[in-house]
């Protein structure tokens, strides 16, 4: 949309766009575009979070007001089935920040044990095979935890210790039985993601490694940067 007058008034400024989004002045279509961007661009999402923090100083301007009690029961009906103990959504332990916080807080040697304790098999059928790999290196402070849930073929990788590197990405690699590393993708999103096509399913003993790569991941088929952490997947 080159005729959008906004584009000619001022140079694109991501920070100003993030601020406009947080303030809420954009129209519905612009908001939808920004929301998509937040979902896929973590640097931009960080700008949005920063502006939310800045403007949070105005939050005292919102006066409290008790909602009518029926709202709570409507929420309960929408989220929970008749059986109160069964949440309507699967909590998805491996997708839960609380789970990861527990993982991080614990001595990493205990990770597999904790995961085993916290893991609740789905109520029907066989418990899905779940693998956990604890990735570290003596040479770096970086630590990652990878959880793979066989039942859904989804994998989640989280950076649990160390620091992001500016203008670089951490990329996760799967190394099956001494084969060449296959990229699982850049580590960044919070969500569990499906195993990329062409990546063999990990098993007990599969090695995961993380390398430091240019933004967006290695430009070639294999890794180009140094290995910052590695570890072996264990079934729990």
């Amino acid at each position: 949309m080159s005729d959008d007058p906004r584009r000619t008034d001022l140079p694109e400024d991501d920070s100003a766009l993030a601020a406009e989004y947080v303030l809420g002045v954009l129209d519905a279509a612009e908001r939808a575009t920004v929301q998509q961007r937040i979902a896929r661009d973590k640097d931009f999402a960080r700008l949005v979070a920063e502006w939310e923090q800045h403007f949070a100083a105005l939050n005292d301007g919102f006066a409290e007001e008790a909602p009518p009690p029926q709202v709570a029961s409507r929420i309960g009906r929408q989220l929970f089935t008749d059986d109160d103990s069964q949440p309507a959504r699967s909590p998805g332990l491996w997708a839960s920040a609380a789970f990861w916080r527990v993982m991080t807080a614990a001595a990493l040697a205990c990770v597999v044990f904790i995961a085993a304790v916290l893991w609740q098999p789905t109520p029907t059928g066989e418990p899905p095979g779940t693998l956990v790999a604890n990735l570290s290196s003596e040479e770096t402070a970086e630590r990652f935890v990878v959880v793979y849930e066989g039942a859904t073929m989804r994998l989640r990788a989280l950076h649990v210790a160390g620091k992001p590197v500016e203008n670089m990405d951490f990329e996760l690699w799967l190394i099956a039985d001494k084969a060449d590393p296959v990229s699982v993708g850049v580590i960044g999103g919070e969500a569990a993601t499906p195993l990329p096509e062409g990546v063999g399913e990990p098993v007990d003993g599969t090695v995961f490694a993380v390398t430091l790569e240019p933004l967006g991941g290695s430009p070639i088929e294999g890794p180009t940067g140094p290995v910052v952490a590695e570890g072996t997947a264990k079934k729990i």
Partner: protein
């Protein structure tokens, strides 16, 4: 011990699918979030519907709280504001525009300014204070009342593109000041 948990703990427990924690989180935060929805939407029935959806989102997204690094209350308020503003924007097509370019008075700058007391609040207040008064007022009006660009343009009696340009410039100035 119920009642003693921090909001962080309640969010962490909610992320694990624990309903009791979610219920306590609701008890502790619903008045604030309803206040946000009500102020932005200015319609009780819609604010109630919005509040329901806001807590459904909180339940579904509690697991992403940790990565944001925000205080739990500002994270919750951001979810509430975002949802309420999405509703406002869906409600009024942009081209409909405000009735007339009336100079409607902005709400008295009282509650938020009175509340501004320390730290981050002071910094924002100081930086807003460096903007021209009407621009600072536009920023506050957008944040607290949910005004869109076209509503702001009407309130300040300037063309839409002028409003866009000067609000953007103000935001860039604001950021520079906040980073000082």
């Amino acid at each position: 011990m119920p009642g003693d948990e921090s909001l962080e703990e309640l969010l962490a427990q909610t992320a694990l699918g624990r309903r009791a924690a979610f219920d306590r989180l609701y008890e502790r935060t619903c008045a604030k979030l309803f206040g946000v929805a009500l102020r932005l939407l200015k319609d009780r029935a819609e604010a109630e519907d919005a509040l329901q959806e806001i807590y459904v989102r909180i339940w579904n997204r509690a697991d992403s709280y940790a990565v944001t690094g925000a205080s739990p209350m500002s994270w919750l308020i951001a979810i509430a504001r975002n949802h309420a503003i999405d509703r406002l924007r869906a409600r009024k097509p942009a081209h409909e525009g405000p009735e007339a370019a009336d100079h409607l008075p902005d709400p008295a700058p009282s509650p938020e300014q009175r509340a501004i007391a320390s730290g981050e609040s002071q910094r924002l207040a100081r930086c807003l204070g460096r903007l021209e008064a009407d621009r600072a007022q536009a920023v506050r009006g957008a944040y607290l009342e949910g005004y869109s660009y076209s509503e702001l343009a009407a309130r300040h009696a300037v063309p839409l593109n002028t409003m866009r340009t000067w609000l953007r410039r103000s935001l860039i100035k604001l950021r520079e000041c906040l980073e000082e």
